[in-house]
Symmetry: C2
């Protein structure tokens, strides 16, 4: 299982319209890329104050997919549409990374039986 | 719900012992931080070749937690132990980011009923 992670740097003076991103761009991405995306997450960097550092990224988005090939098969037909929408919410150059998922651990609820 | 993301840069000449990280450090983290971590993920950056860029990060780790306060309550008692273990697997300075989770979308299996 792979994860495609898209990281938008939090640059002073940089523009990132989170409202557009959450209400327009990401719903469009989820619709166009379809169920080959097993899970899609979006996080918004926050500044809780010291000792936490300022967020390095305004937003981090991830797409979990069975394989790189499955991701490309879903993404490439819509690449022009999705990339063409980027200037509507940011002027930042995203970092795009492809990773293998090595650990995906979900906590056992307190009192739940230990899975065998 | 918040996510603490720890990103280890993929620097030429940098050291990252993934075997130690996956078999020693992360199991220790998961044990010490306990069930307040709702989900823990680790990804390993890969180099699939063009047109994909080289991975910016050797590893990306995330901890999902109810709140920043819940994370700190779980982490601070073990901070010295966990941070002291870092030189055993890397000489890289990690980027640590705290984020609010805005979207966590799981694909509906093909043919499954639409949730109401």
């Amino acid at each position: 299982m792979i994860k495609v992670t898209i990281l938008y740097p939090n640059t002073p003076g940089g523009r990132f319209d989170f409202d557009y991103y959450l209400t327009r761009h990401m719903p469009l991405s989820i619709e166009l890329l379809g169920p080959a995306m097993r899970q899609v997450t979006v996080e918004r960097g926050v500044s809780p104050g010291a000792p936490w550092p300022e967020p390095a990224f305004a937003a981090i988005c991830s797409f979990v997919c069975d394989s790189r090939e499955a991701y490309e098969a879903a993404f490439l037909p819509h690449m022009r549409t999705l990339q063409g929408d980027i200037p509507n919410y940011t002027d930042q150059q995203a970092i795009i990374q492809i990773s293998e998922i090595e650990i995906d651990h979900v906590a056992r609820p307190v009192g739940a039986p230990i899975p065998i």
